[in-house]
Point group: C2
């Protein structure tokens, strides 16, 4: 191993890599076809044009309930001079769909006739020829083209095909992807353990990409996990490449350049590598090559990288083999809630949460790490930052590709501010009660929440900002920072804050003053967070100098992250809520009880979405679930405790 080895081939731009892909591989439907029953053919693509075998109607048919007549026999009938027709011979009762009797060419609607007796009817207006008659072949003529080649069969098409006498169709075979997960750290989900051994992870990329392939109309074979062994991977891939049923090979993991990364070597040894490394993030360490004329990929192991590489390079190949255009993403204009850094020379795909606040769709960036699968499952959209851009400013309007329906976005309640597990409970209850609204929360701390309210970027903010002069919560901060925004303050709960420590409290901490001990490592919350304000207040009260606390500069953004740091022994203690300690079976030393409140702009307070939300906060269900989590006091839950502009 040496620092001088060639890490990647010359890195390609995304555009170059995609162009190369369409140059190398005939982007046209594969020859293979198969015959399927029409009733099972929805979503498939016709391999051949389909011509009707039967006409529809196959006969002249009554289009209304009534009597069939020869139009010429009715000419001259008027209200003043009605005509009387004999039933059975000159006028025959028919129902919709009946075959027209011989020597008739028009139907008079049942509403327009008067039955005189069993044998006679009277009409007061003439019928014109072919009135209310569906003529033979009106819909489909036998021998005519029903659907051109490469037509995608819809539910509706099933009706036309069966009606045209077609029960089977020849469709393009589903392109078959061979997915090979590699990596010694991987555990198959079918062997899901109670606890994962350190260093192991559940293999999931093959199932994600397999499902993505299925949704595009392809199929996949997932090979069992192979550890990072060159010979074994090579042999497995070689066999797959020989299989005439394999259309594409994806080696998953090991696409980078570490000592256990074999994807490039394997493809090189069996075929040819065209690209190693594309200037995009996530997704950079992708390998694109071919084996036996078939596209072969090294797919990065980080889940978001794998997804991005698949969407950029595998999706277009699948679509081309199915003779269809790439799915066109829906694009909307959004306003970022904060500036987003780019990186010159790299296309960036930034996952964002979206919501409509007032007139604007606002976009809050999610964590950018390619290893963070929740950054894409929680995303409502993706903002693409071009390689020649340094980033996006806060007041730029940019376009985002939608991952959810536009209406879902418009019906999302946007919460920005301090995190509390009670917000997650609200989100769940809301989904249970409403098929329309959902709640999306971004965790930027209490002050961040107030700033979001000020800029009109959220529907409400969760805050717990202690006024260290008078011990009140939130009000003085609102008066100072939001003088011009009418808001109301709704109490969510009082909650216990305290020191989160390892089970059994091994360092025998008794309170805030112990944090200054030499043998204690602390984990802090970010400045601007209510918990940080609370900590500093208590440190001052106890006369402890923050500089004396080891780890005071280690900042986390949520209570759970603090608890995790303690659980993982990165720290001995952190300040957080009891619910977080309880969730991870950690010990808890109470420090204070504080008010956690929602700052709701008056502009939204009476909207349907916020009324529903406040109803939910007042519900017995919600209070029950707070108590189940522990550390919450609910006597004032749901109460409007203050309004800024009475």
């Amino acid at each position: 191993m040496s620092s001088s080895r060639n890490i990647y081939l010359k890195m390609k731009t995304l555009r170059e890599a995609r162009d190369l892909l369409s140059d190398r591989f005939a982007l046209r439907p594969a020859g293979r076809g198969e015959t399927v029953a029409v009733t099972k053919a929805a979503g498939r693509i016709l391999a051949q044009p389909v011509y009707a075998r039967l006409s529809s109607p196959g006969f002249h048919a009554a289009a209304m309930d009534g009597v069939a007549v020869k139009a010429e026999a009715t000419f001259g009938a008027t209200e003043a001079n009605p005509k009387i027709l004999d039933t059975g011979t000159r006028a025959v009762f028919v129902n919709t769909g009946h075959i027209m009797p011989a020597n008739t060419n028009a139907v008079i609607m049942i509403e327009d006739i008067l039955v005189i007796d069993e044998n006679r009817i009277q009409i007061e207006a003439p019928a014109f020829p072919w009135q209310h008659v569906r003529r033979m072949g009106e819909d489909i003529v036998a021998t005519e083209l029903l659907f051109a080649r490469h037509h995608r069969i819809t539910a509706y098409c099933i009706g036309a095909l069966l009606t045209g006498g077609i029960t089977e169709v020849s469709v393009l075979a589903k392109p078959c992807l061979f997915l090979l997960p590699t990596g010694p750290e991987l555990v198959d989900h079918r062997q899901m353990p109670e606890e994962l051994a350190p260093g192991r992870v559940i293999e999931s990329n093959s199932h994600v990409l397999g499902q993505m392939a299925k949704e595009l109309g392809a199929q996949y074979i997932r090979h069992d996990i192979v550890t990072d062994n060159f010979e074994l991977i090579s042999q497995t891939v070689s066999e797959a490449a020989q299989d005439p049923e394999t259309d594409m090979i994806l080696i998953m993991g090991g696409s980078s350049s570490g000592s256990e990364d074999f994807a490039r070597q394997v493809i090189e040894s069996l075929g040819e590598v065209h690209v190693h490394g594309v200037a995009m993030m996530p997704g950079k360490p992708v390998v694109i090559g071919e084996i036996n004329g078939k596209p072969a990929f090294g797919i990065p192991g980080y889940p978001v990288s794998a997804i991005m590489a698949f969407e950029q390079f595998v999706t277009p190949l699948i679509c081309a083999m199915l003779g269809r255009a790439e799915p066109e993403p829906e694009i909307i204009h959004v306003q970022p809630t904060r500036k987003i850094a780019g990186r010159l020379g790299m296309e960036q795909f930034v996952r964002v949460k979206l919501g409509k606040v007032g007139a604007n769709i606002v976009a809050t960036p999610l964590p950018r790490g390619a290893g963070t699968i929740t950054s894409i499952t929680e995303a409502h959209g993706i903002i693409r930052i071009d390689a020649d851009k340094e980033g996006i400013r806060e007041d730029d309007t940019v376009s985002a590709r939608l991952l959810k329906d536009r209406r879902y976005i418009e019906d999302t309640i946007v919460a920005v501010g301090s995190h509390d597990n009670a917000i997650d409970v609200l989100a769940d209850l809301l989904r249970a009660e409403s098929s329309r609204y959902s709640l999306s929360s971004s965790h930027v701390g209490s002050m961040g929440g107030l700033m979001a309210v000020k800029k009109g970027l959220c529907h409400f903010a969760g805050t717990h900002l202690l006024d260290t002069h008078d011990g009140t919560y939130n009000i003085s901060y609102i008066q100072k920072f939001l003088p011009d925004v009418p808001v109301r303050l709704v109490r969510l709960a009082e909650r216990e804050q305290g020191l989160i420590v390892a089970p059994g409290n091994p360092k025998k901490l008794s309170g805030i003053t112990d944090l200054a001990r030499d043998d204690v490592v602390f984990v802090n919350r970010q400045s601007g967070s209510g918990t940080r304000v609370l900590l500093d207040f208590h440190l001052r009260g106890a006369g402890v100098d923050p500089a004396a606390i080891t780890g005071y500069e280690n900042e986390e953004f949520t209570h759970m992250a603090v608890a995790v740091a303690v659980l993982g022994r990165a720290a001995d203690a952190g300040l957080g809520i009891r619910a977080a300690a309880r969730a991870l079976d950690l010990d808890f030393i109470p420090v204070a009880t504080e008010s956690y409140e929602l700052v709701i702009p008056e502009a939204f307070a009476e909207s349907g979405r916020i009324r529903l939300l406040t109803e939910m906060i007042g519900s017995a269900q919600f209070i029950e679930r707070l108590h189940a989590m522990g550390g919450y006091h609910t006597q004032n839950t749901g109460r409007v405790v203050w309004k800024s502009h009475q």
Copy 2:
């Protein structure tokens, strides 16, 4: 049967009927849930919130290939004063994803180190704590909410669920529809005959609606066809209504008020009918009721009515039971190619073909009969005309609900004009050659085509207009009607026109003069069509008075419709192309050979789509398929025969 019976309950407006539906039925997810494997759960809706069981990462993990160090040990390193670290103890080689060794908290990338020897490396910059480390729980913290109740599981979600240690999830059971096709005329497609007996039709609605239900996330049971027998239908429906697995009942057919229409009676006798008849077209004769607390519908038998009734009334119920919003149709603004009549008091759903011509999306109405399944399979969109509107004028801009991707519409080549089977062949070849473009043609005759070119409503028009003064085709008409539009004329083929007659020519016709015989019924083409001009020219030449021809006033819009009229014995003869006669095994008496040409505006002639089209016209494949159809001469096929503005 009497004219005075009450045909419908008081007809409801569409709005009233939908409101009644949401009042009567709790539009909330049904209680039933079921457990499914995460790997098979894409598209399903969570019945319960899901909390993570494992953290991810479950340990502090290297985020880069490199060496793991204790950051504090690197402080002070600079280019001028590099630090040397012992490998194995103070610096440990790690690959991405590896567990961080004890007493390390940062990774230095492999690119940034210099290997001195087997035991030592050199660094020239310090690492900061947690640099290039994915900390335990960074992505997912055990116990935290992964997805709220009623979240729809996507491919991406599979990754988060498996990573969070979840292999099974509880999802909402798929609502189950019981579909009962009724009608004595129906034939099951599994007994598809060579020829349908007169009066019989293939049952297809249950398969169309069943597939639509599946695509919404429901499932269905299709009962065998039951003939229109009250007791039998009633007993079958009653049993289904008792079945706890049935969520909804659809009696298909017999929903109107004919003598064999039992849907309303059956629902009335077993439960309650709330609505019979909704002021919408298609879809008017729908029955909405309930049996045993379950929604029960009488679905009209006409295929487009069945689809519209399903979309308006069944879709919202399915979506509500799945806790999701109704799919939101994409809406675009379109310009109709001709005025569209409405009907006061009725909502109208008009199926249209769409295409982008120049800057506008133009909409050409398709046949409006509810029995015409191809009017919805060929549709690109649906224009809704409100009940209080008399119709839409030609220059109104109206909105249409898209049935195809917007890009598909934009890449559609719009042909308006005379119909020729060669146009269908072109459409098929185009789909075979291009994954991008498709061809959509509307048949309004040659003059209609020229008018469409004039108004900028199509990319080209097919015409065969004979100048009866000099025997030339098309040019004089273009000069007269398109003086201001630069166009070129491309020869598609010369084709034979003649009398289409029944096999064996039973009336022993020898030519155009025989059409005046008393025992001969003729079927004509619409005025403005090239074939009509041709007929009139030859009648004049032969000295035949049109008034002497029985059936001269019977107008059809395509060659195939004329052939079908002859096949169905509605007429003894019609003028049309040889290919139409041949397709239906009819006899053909040649009358003339004419030039069928495409009028292409110069504005589009050099566009990618038209170049591709003209390439296709010149191809050997196309010419081969013309010859296979018969009646075409191709020596000038593909030639630009004339340009209007040289």
